[in-house]
């Protein structure tokens, strides 16, 4: 008999007024009892709409069925067939617009907590599984993967399991891409990412850090001189966007990428870090995505007294995950909806001293389907702040395009690929993730890495 409660089992979390002063994980995870209770809410529908809502088509009812039976390791094996990073995706996927958005239980009441169950299962596996992955017998073929973010890790993992000799080239000093430099510790503990990378190394994947492909070596050199038969480009998003308003180059104005990289990758929140971050009292974050939430909540944890999120549309249009918005609100982030900055004002030392904004109202839907914000005349006002963080998205890094002959890209810089395979305009070169789509989600990048791994296998076998 299914559990007919209309409410999801609540996720245990750190108290908002405690967690907004530390960098430890916010959500603490279900207990076994909570997981089983939540799993029993699944009706095991025939047409499995949740599965079609998942970008990598995990057999969701099947894994939930195992959880309901208390068979957690079996549940993990079901997920592992389709997802390489369940501990990550259980934490960062926008479930409300994917699997859970399709769940019939959501028509009346809460959908099944699929994301929370996925996280539980992955954490259970990581805590209890002592078997190390074993390097499969090599098939003698070499593949290079550029970038160690979600798409690169997934592609590398799938190929390594098939016996390929895979080398990942990472530009930074640490592997993990956006999972380590972008997403904060309190949302995705770095030990989880490290565990995934260690798992790949056990499978025989080599990780070369400090390798900026396009500079130290080109993709053509990897193919022609180093014997890589195929290359996967998962180089991620790239250059941060700014608004081009006056005052953006004042001291104390950061891109979210810079702010988060200083905090997450360089650990500037720790007293003894050599990498500085400015101590701020009043912070404005411009933007409404997950990155904006991450930056705002990090600023709060670094000791800011007031943190604003400035977003030009309304709460409904916020692109961030629902849970992140709720967490941000609970922690005391102040949302300024229908507000758009027009200028950053300087203090007497040429640091940011305030942000001048206008009020907006929503007009007709634009090309993105969202209602277009229009400026309200005469609505200018100022918020005094000492730090401004721009979280407006990124445009692809031109480095790989400009150094790889014949690699075609969209006008805005995204690499053009064949959707079913990830194949670029160059034979043997595949791409996926944000480098192709522009800023998107971890799970979509992971899906693209899987697709490309299968296509690379087919391509090399044909040679």
């Amino acid at each position: 008999m299914p559990n007919m409660s209309l409410k999801k089992n609540e996720m245990p979390t750190q108290d908002p007024n405690v967690r907004n002063k530390n960098f430890k994980e916010v959500a603490l995870g279900y207990t076994k009892e909570q997981a089983i209770d939540e799993a029993q809410r699944c009706l095991n529908c025939k047409n499995k709409k949740c599965v079609s809502g998942c970008p990598v088509n995990i057999d969701i009812p099947a894994f939930i069925h195992e959880v309901a039976e208390g068979k957690f390791e079996e549940a993990y094996q079901v997920i592992a067939k389709d997802s390489s990073l369940p501990a990550v995706c259980g934490r960062v996927c926008p479930q409300e617009s994917q699997c859970e958005g399709q769940c019939v239980r959501g028509i009346k009441g809460d959908p099944v907590g699929i994301g929370r169950l996925e996280r539980f299962v992955a954490d259970y596996h990581n805590a209890n599984n002592t078997e190390k992955a074993v390097k499969p017998e090599s098939n003698g073929h070499k593949v290079a993967v550029i970038g160690s973010g979600p798409s690169g890790l997934t592609c590398a993992g799938d190929l390594a399991k098939m016996g390929y000799e895979v080398t990942i080239f990472e530009a930074l000093h640490l592997a993990g891409g956006v999972l380590v430099y972008g997403i904060p510790e309190f949302r995705l503990p770095k030990s989880i990412v490290q565990k995934e990378i260690d798992g790949l190394k056990d499978l025989g994947v080599k990780v070369e850090t400090n390798m900026v492909i396009g500079k130290v070596l080109s993709i053509d050199e990897l193919k022609e001189e180093y014997g890589f038969e195929a290359v996967f480009i998962g180089s991620g998003a790239g250059l941060p966007k700014f608004m081009n308003i006056p005052g953006e180059n004042l001291k104390g104005v950061y891109s979210a990428n810079e702010f988060l990289t200083r905090v997450n990758l360089m650990k500037s929140y720790k007293e003894d870090s050599d990498t500085p971050i400015k101590q701020n009292k009043r912070v404005a974050v411009v933007g409404g995505g997950n990155v904006a939430m991450d930056a705002a909540r990090s600023a709060l944890r670094l000791g800011a007294e007031e943190v604003y999120i400035i977003y030009r549309r309304s709460r409904e249009e916020l692109p961030a995950r629902a849970e992140e918005v709720e967490h941000a609100e609970e922690e005391g982030i102040i949302f300024k909806f229908l507000t758009n900055p027009v200028e950053i004002l300087a203090d007497e030392n040429k640091f940011a001293g305030g942000i001048k904004c206008v009020e907006m109202e929503l007009g007709e839907p634009d090309a993105s389907g969202r209602r277009r914000p229009i400026v309200k005349e005469g609505s200018e006002f100022e918020i005094p702040v000492d730090c401004v963080i721009m979280a407006l998205g990124t445009s692809p890094n031109p480095l790989i395009k400009s150094t790889t002959r014949g690699l075609e890209t969209q006008k805005w810089g995204g690499i053009i690929v064949e959707e079913e395979t990830g194949l670029t305009s160059r034979e043997g070169i595949y791409a996926g993730g944000d480098a192709v789509t522009g800023a998107a989600t971890v799970i979509l990048a992971m899906g693209a890495g899987k697709t490309a791994a299968a296509a690379i296998d087919e391509y090399i076998k044909k040679q």
Binding site: K215, G252, N257, P276
Partner: protein, 280 residues
Amino acid sequence: MYRIAKKVELNPTVTRMDIEAPLVAKKAEPGQFIILRTDEEGERIPLTVADYDREAGTVTIIFQKVGATTEKLGHLKEGEYIQDFVGPLGTASELEGLKKVAVIGGGVGSAIAYPVAKKLHNLGAEVHSIVGFRGKDLVILEDEFEAVSDKFVKMSDDGTWGTKGLVTNALKDLIESGETYDEVIAIGPVIMMKFVAALTKEYGIKTIVSMNPIMVDGTGMCGGCRLTVGGETKFACVDGPDFDGHLVDFDEAMERGSMYRPFEAKKREETCNLFAKEVQ
């Protein structure tokens, strides 16, 4: 890990190191930079390539001890290792086709001006080097500049080396005496580059400067190194570090460069104290 193949103290605050990094050495060109971390917890700092030996597989860096990282780096010995060394980053200086160039170096910036002068010399250009230091004790690379320059003008603030005065005085004298240049390349403190650019603008001589702003990743991701060039925002790490000196907003660059100065000074002092304790 990257081995320190050779270390030479050039003066009390400036050190030269040859770092074993064969792949970087193979590709490095004058004008490009590297990013390094001394240890696991270290900061990423950019340093411009001062020289390279493609056969030996080494890249030369020359640095002044100004913050915690350069202080720590200065304490490492020949044969020891640094944690991370990535490059070559940025675009190379465009030197081909130039016939006659004035290369201006100021202070530790001379270390970056030198490989430019050397490459120009090797390409067959006529090189006039104007190099300035505060005083004799701080002079670096004198013989090296001598070897690659058709004309070598030495300047110092206190008159203890060469002529007393600023590099801009020397440049102005050369131009006034009838020397004509295809290009002036100025590398040194931002304030020096600002005044060189202001001078050459009067004479309409194309001027390239090498900017060295604050950076984190060095690959275009963080945007910390942004500066205004001709009214547009540019990233020094991918668009530069060389820019048209007549278009750079130097005042803004100086402001941005000062952002963490109090932190840097404090961290350096802490690091010095730490090393002093170890010695006791």
